[in-house]
């Protein structure tokens, strides 16, 4: 293995700039001078062959970076929004929040049977869900509801327009049905049997 290749591999894979003495630890055949020479050879080579990247001296060490003139291309990769869809868990969580708002995270998790903070965060990031207040109960947990953007996106004038047909599960059809068992604690791991009674 040539010194140049080892140095290239190390600099490529490192998540921080490396000093020549640090790079030299990769192999017994390397010392600071050998590394310095390899770095110089690589730089020359990247320049001549018009690579899109370069070796840059940074914070007392070396790092491989894309050349600055490509920055505008890279920006487009990330900032051109690509259309996306909600995942199954996100759809389910959004449905629960839409029908039961204002609702706390614990209640959402109790209905779904799985932790939901990540999904709720995603829905918040997408502007479909927002914090609408705090419950009066112990710990004053955050309550979530849907946003104006939610109404716009799905074409509703107001929350009153959400359909509530009989085939909806009771827990979503009727806001009065309790979600958590009587003495549920903060965890969604409720030990109680929850009996849902039909309000009729």
């Amino acid at each position: 293995m040539k010194a140049e290749q080892i140095v290239e591999a190390v600099l490529f894979a490192s998540d921080a700039p490396l000093r020549p003495d640090e790079i030299a630890r990769a192999d017994e055949s390397l010392d600071e001078d050998v590394v310095e020479a390899a770095v110089a050879a690589l730089r020359r080579y990247y320049l001549e062959s018009e690579r899109a990247f370069d070796l840059v001296e940074l914070a007392g060490g070396w790092q491989i970076l894309t050349r600055p003139e490509y920055a505008s291309y890279l920006d487009r990769i990330d900032t051109i929004p690509r259309p996306s869809r909600l995942s199954g868990p996100a759809l389910e969580t959004l449905a629960i929040i839409a029908y039961r708002q204002p609702i706390g995270r614990v209640e959402v998790e109790y209905v779904r049977g799985v932790g939901s903070s990540g999904v709720i965060r995603t829905l918040q990031d997408r502007g479909l869900v927002e914090v609408t207040g705090r419950a009066e109960t112990l710990g004053r947990p955050l309550l979530y509801g849907t946003t104006t953007h939610f109404l716009e996106h799905f074409g509703f004038d107001s929350l009153e327009d959400l359909p509530r047909p009989d085939e909806l599960p009771v827990v979503l059809r009727d806001r009065e049905v309790p979600i958590l068992p009587e003495e549920a604690d903060d965890e969604a791991g409720g030990q109680e049997e929850l009996s849902l009674e039909d309000p009729e």
Binding site: F12, D78, L86, P163
Partner: protein, 257 residues
């Protein structure tokens, strides 16, 4: 390869002991142990000597219980399954069910499990190969698009369909969990011997189990009974399939051991 012998209980269990000179906690579960026993002895999976395997499995399960492994309860479940198969093998089979081997489901599970183990090995090798290649270590953070700028293709129909599917789900892990330490086989052995010492006419299995009202006590009592039978300390008798199981002390044998 081990010679294939079909001797009675005790010898087989000892053989199983030799075969298990390995770290017990290397077994990921009862299926793994069972597969190990069958492979190690070059057993024909379509004709499993269920008595020998059950005895070996019980011996190993005892050690696993002694080592207090988390999975002990699951090994016991499998032990109970094996005992169940063993029992059904002993029963005369009605004409109509002649084709149905009580071992069939076990064989199916073993074959499937073996395949999964092979896939797991392949995955492990693939992971090792992949780990030898490294990604770019440092990548510049660039601001992504604002989430609300991202066009959302989701329609209300999809949300509504999800709403229809919502129902209260039992939280994970509330599944019945066997707690191995609360019911010890040693205690059941002691209980059986104590009760039998006052009962020259034997005792019914049911009378040992009924007070506890818990399937795990039943399994452990049965295991203890089979263990005592194997040690030739007691005799087990059943007049007909599904009839009461009776236990009798064998005093002479016991003193000599």
């Amino acid at each position: 390869m081990e010679p294939r012998e079909r001797g009675p209980g005790m010898g087989d269990a000892m053989e199983g002991t030799d075969l298990l000179q390995v770290e017990l906690d290397r077994f990921t579960g009862p299926m793994d142990l069972l597969l190990h026993l069958i492979r190690q002895q070059d057993i024909d999976v379509f004709d499993i000597p269920i008595r020998r395997i059950t005895d070996q499995f019980l011996t190993a399960t005892e050690w696993i219980r002694a080592a207090n492994l988390d999975t002990a309860g699951e090994f016991l479940e499998m032990a109970a399954t094996l005992i169940g198969i063993k029992a059904r093998m002993l029963l005369p089979r009605p004409e109509a069910e002649e084709d149905e081997d009580p071992r069939a489901e076990l064989v199916r599970r073993l074959l499937e499990y073996e395949q999964i183990r092979e896939v797991a090995h392949r995955l492990e090798r693939a992971e090792a190969d992949r780990a030898r290649r490294r990604t770019k270590g440092w990548v510049e953070e660039r601001p992504g698009p604002r989430p609300e700028d991202v066009p959302l293709e989701t329609t209300w129909e999809e949300v509504f369909k999800a709403a229809l599917g919502v129902e209260l789900v039992e939280p994970v892990d509330r599944h019945h969990r066997v707690t191995p330490r609360t019911v010890s086989m040693d205690r059941k052995v002691t209980l059986i011997l104590e009760r039998l010492s006052d009962a020259p006419d034997g005792i019914a299995f049911r009378s040992l189990v009924t007070p506890f009202d818990d399937p795990m006590h039943g399994v452990m009592t049965l295991l203890a009974g089979l263990e005592l039978g194997r040690r030739r300390e007691i005799r087990l008798r059943q007049s007909a399939p599904f009839q009461e199981l009776w236990m009798y002390l064998r005093p002479g044998e016991r003193e000599s051991s």
